[in-house]
């Protein structure tokens, strides 16, 4: 439908006496400048008694990127929300269709700039399925090793963000120390701090090097203590625990209906982790637990992620122990032309299941690459979680779901 612009104060919803106070006040309300396109929109943009709109974002200090949420408030209590997405839309899925298979890796990389390796991992695995390539074992070990490091750095950032949205200043700076060390060692391995562009179809780009290993060994010797110190700052804080517990509770049924995955799902008590339920790479050979909690609230999601950090440390230890010798790339031609067909691959990232559905038409460019991003799925939950909560908790609930807007808007 074509966008139809209206003169000031002539929007249909402006007939509502609660919205249009006088002359151009409605101009300052976050009402879309076109007539309501759906019944839901018409209903949302009509104010009840004592309600008001509050436009949050896309420049709000804590919407984690450029999310915009129009809140309908009754006092400080949220009645209804209308998320407005697309401020970070770059058309990655379309760009990928015009790049050859190797080039797509750098296109999907910045989708989720906090845990880029998992964004690469899923499409790369899908291409490998299309091509029937056997990935060398050393490459798989390196993938798991770097992936788990990335998972820890992502969770460290989550912890800082979550505390910051609840008003704590210090945790984000403490957790950034940890994150910075990991990011630096990944830079030594891959050449980049955040957008790694490291995984290749059939292997990885570079072998383990001395700087990476020395940094890793150095950090591993104090990682457990560092993680403990960071979490102690919050776990034993009465105000934090009281704020976070019972906040944004998701029960098992809702979580499954909303297609939640990752820590958000496991916090409700369902032990679903792709690394165990649909094993890929070398995860079947490694020993680690899938922590779950039963509460399903923000505190459970936070504690679960901190528990996952410890499991990731275990995995890294085992990877270093068992690291085999050998090539890091499968033998492949320069120009890839997979057989026509379709492949689905998914990996368990720090936020949930990262999936890629690749369709090949036999040329050197993918016909279609559908990216399944957990942030987008989890952001849908805010519609169910936010109404009824106070304004102060909207950001905390959103933070506890841990969405990244790059992945949501693609």
């Amino acid at each position: 439908m074509a966008t139809q612009t209206f003169a000031k104060g002539t929007h249909p919803s402006a007939d509502d006496p609660h919205v249009l106070v006088e002359d151009d006040y409605a101009f300052y309300e976050p009402i879309p400048p076109y007539p309501p396109r759906t019944e839901r929109e018409a209903e949302f943009y009509t104010l009840g008694d004592g309600e008001m709109f509050l436009n949050m974002g896309p420049q709000h200090p804590s919407t984690h990127g450029v999310l915009r949420v129009v809140l309908k408030l009754d006092g400080e209590r949220v009645v209804d929300i209308d998320p407005v997405l697309g401020y970070l839309h770059r058309g990655v899925e379309k760009l990928v269709e015009n790049a050859d298979y190797h080039q797509t890796i750098s296109q999907v990389d910045p989708l989720e700039y906090i845990s880029s390796l998992f964004c690469e991992w899923a499409p790369v695995t899908a291409y490998e399925k299309l091509l029937d390539v056997e990935v060398p074992r050393r490459a798989e070990y390196i993938r798991v090793l770097s992936g788990e490091l990335n998972r820890i750095s992502s969770h460290a950032l989550f912890m800082g963000w979550f505390a910051l949205d609840l008003g704590g200043l210090t945790p984000i700076l403490w957790s950034f120390i940890e994150r910075d060390e990991i990011v630096e060692m990944l830079a030594a391995l891959t050449g980049q701090r955040m957008l790694f562009n490291y995984f290749r179809i059939g292997g990885v780009n570079g072998d383990l090097n001395h700087e990476f290993l020395s940094r890793l060994g150095d950090w591993m010797s104090r990682a457990v203590g560092q993680v403990e110190a960071n979490t102690k700052l919050l776990n034993e804080n009465e105000i934090f625990v009281r704020r976070a517990s019972g906040l944004g509770v998701v029960d098992q049924e809702t979580a499954i209906r909303l297609c939640m995955t990752g820590a958000n799902l496991r916090a409700t008590g369902i032990p679903f982790d792709l690394r165990r339920t649909h094993p890929y790479s070398i995860y079947p050979e490694l020993e680690f637990d899938i922590p779950t909690r039963s509460e399903g609230d923000s505190l459970a999601r936070y504690l679960l992620r901190m528990e996952e950090v410890k499991q990731s440390l275990r995995i890294i230890d085992q990877c270093l122990d068992k690291m085999p010798d050998g090539p890091i790339m499968a033998k492949l031609p320069r120009l890839l032309r997979p057989r026509p067909g379709r492949a689905w691959a998914a990996v368990e990232g720090p936020r949930g299941v990262y999936g890629a559905y690749a369709i090949s038409d036999g040329t050197d460019q993918p016909f279609r690459l559908k990216i399944h991003d957990p942030s987008f799925i989890h952001l849908q939950a805010v519609g169910a979680l936010l109404p009824g909560n106070l304004l102060a908790d909207t950001m905390a609930i959103m933070a506890s779901l841990d969405p990244v807007m790059g992945g949501v808007d693609k």
Binding site: H60, L166, G167, G168, L169, L173, I239
Partner: protein
């Protein structure tokens, strides 16, 4: 004329300022000298006749002028201490250890654009920061800094303090309402709800103390926590056990918590919760109007700490009885050796302190050693002078202890900001009405009962 214009163009900004200021100052000084020469006697007579008023105006001016520097010090403290707690370095560029950064910030907000948003109410919008700053600064007037060092001492000082402190909320509401921004409005309403709720336990918690003290004059309350003499004889041991914090521990706890909320500090800084409502009532403010809000917040921290010190931590009293050397030695008898002191001691002291650096370290040049000796001598001299002033002047000792205690409390405020997350608005309200208010009533009841029982045991009211 062109030469003058060219000179003017080539001057730097401070140069231009001095170019204007020096003739102006010369003119003013000359005028002042003339006026004093002609009417000096009459002016002096008028001043002496109105001594209490003159004293009040002088003290009030000094205290109001002191407000921005106090805010600067606390802002710097906060930046540096939170930086250290965050494992950062913090300010370290402007001045030694970055100490001048907050001053530079103060100058910066003066130079910034003073912006009023469309549809804002310009009059209310302009006056809101003034109201907030003025109320905060006015509260300083009744705080006794040291014996004899206060602007005004009257019998309702405590009531005055709470009354004026409660006016802050008017300014915050004005700012929140006039900004034409919903975040500001929410911040203003939150501050109104918060300050009104916490005013009640804050005031009730000190009623027990007022019963014990029998006065609301802050000066008398401080005196009662040290050694003092009245009609019934000499009281107090001089030790810190006389402080009201040991007689009213529950009241101290309630007061400290409610005061944190009153000063809008973490964990009760809901009015400017940056992760929720951007910057609360200050969202639309810029330039010096924002600066007023900012200063007011830190002066608020100072006065709340100062009041806690005065009421519960003994104010200017030292925590232990200190033998007065001035009672043993007459300072006047030291005047004999004054010439000797002025002429020889700096020279000898510098040489003495420089000698080890020159003699025992072969790499040090003689002039470097002399400079080191001179600096060291100044440090030692300043220390000795401070000690001498501490011993001889009550107000120096009083100021030392008062500021020491107050800034310790300020540090605690900053510490809490670095450590604690923010509470939610319903938790905040619930805490005030369900816990603090009953606790302060209980404290009042127990105190009143205790006073009654003690009087009955002594046989009739004192």
């Amino acid at each position: 004329m062109t030469a003058l214009a060219r000179t003017w163009d080539h001057l730097t900004l401070p140069g231009k300022a001095l170019f204007i200021l020096i003739p102006l100052l010369a003119l003013l000084t000359t005028g002042l000298i003339v006026v004093i020469a002609l009417f000096g006697k009459q002016i002096l007579d008028i001043l002496i006749f109105n001594l209490p008023i003159v004293r009040f105006v002088f003290a009030a001016t000094v205290l109001l002028l002191l407000a921005p520097p106090i805010a600067f010090v606390i802002i710097y403290m906060e930046m540096k201490i939170i930086a250290l707690m965050n494992l950062r370095i913090g300010p370290d560029r402007v001045g030694p250890w970055g100490t001048l950064l907050s001053t530079i910030h103060g100058l910066k907000v003066l130079m910034k654009e003073d912006f009023t948003p469309t549809r804002a109410d310009p009059v209310v919008f302009t006056w809101a920061p003034v109201v907030v700053f003025a109320t905060m600064a006015l509260s300083v007037l009744v705080i006794p800094f040291a014996p004899g060092l206060f602007a005004q001492d009257f019998n309702l000082a405590l009531l005055y303090f709470f009354a004026i402190g409660g006016l802050t909320v008017v300014g915050l509401l004005m700012g929140g309402w006039a900004s034409f921004n919903k975040y500001s409005l929410l911040g203003g309403l939150r501050s109104a709800a918060q300050i009104v709720s916490y005013e009640i336990p804050l005031t009730l918690s000190v009623v027990g103390l007022v019963i014990l003290a029998g006065t609301m004059s802050l000066n008398h309350i401080v005196q009662q926590q040290g050694v003092y003499v009245d009609a019934t004889g000499s009281h107090g041991s001089g030790w810190f056990l006389d402080w009201y914090v040991f007689r009213q521990p529950l009241a101290f706890l309630i007061f400290a918590i409610a005061a944190t909320a009153e000063a809008n500090r973490t964990p009760f800084d809901l009015t400017e919760a940056d992760s929720e409502i951007v910057a609360g009532f200050a969202t639309e403010y810029s330039g010096m109007r924002f600066g007023f809000f900012f200063f007011a917040e830190y002066i608020g921290v100072f006065i709340i700490s100062a009041l806690t010190t005065v009421l519960f931590l003994g104010g200017w009293n030292a925590p232990f009885p200190f033998p007065r050397i001035s009672w043993l030695v007459d300072p006047g008898s030291l005047g004999i050796g004054l010439l000797f002191v002025v002429a020889l001691v700096p020279l000898l002291g510098t040489l003495l302190l420089a000698a080890p650096f020159y003699l025992f370290r072969s790499q040090t040049r003689w002039w470097v050693a002399l400079i080191i000796g001179f600096v060291l001598f100044n440090v030692v001299a300043a220390g000795l002078f401070g000690l001498w002033a501490y011993i001889n002047f009550d107000w120096v000792a009083g100021l030392f202890w008062f500021l020491g205690k107050t800034f310790t409390l300020v540090f605690v405020f900053v510490w809490m900001r670095g450590t604690l997350p923010r509470v939610r608005i319903d938790q905040l309200m619930g805490f005030a009405w369900k816990w603090l208010l009953p606790a302060s009533l209980l404290n009042l009841f127990v105190t009143a009962l205790g006073v009654l029982v003690a009087d009955a045991l002594r046989g009739g009211p004192a």
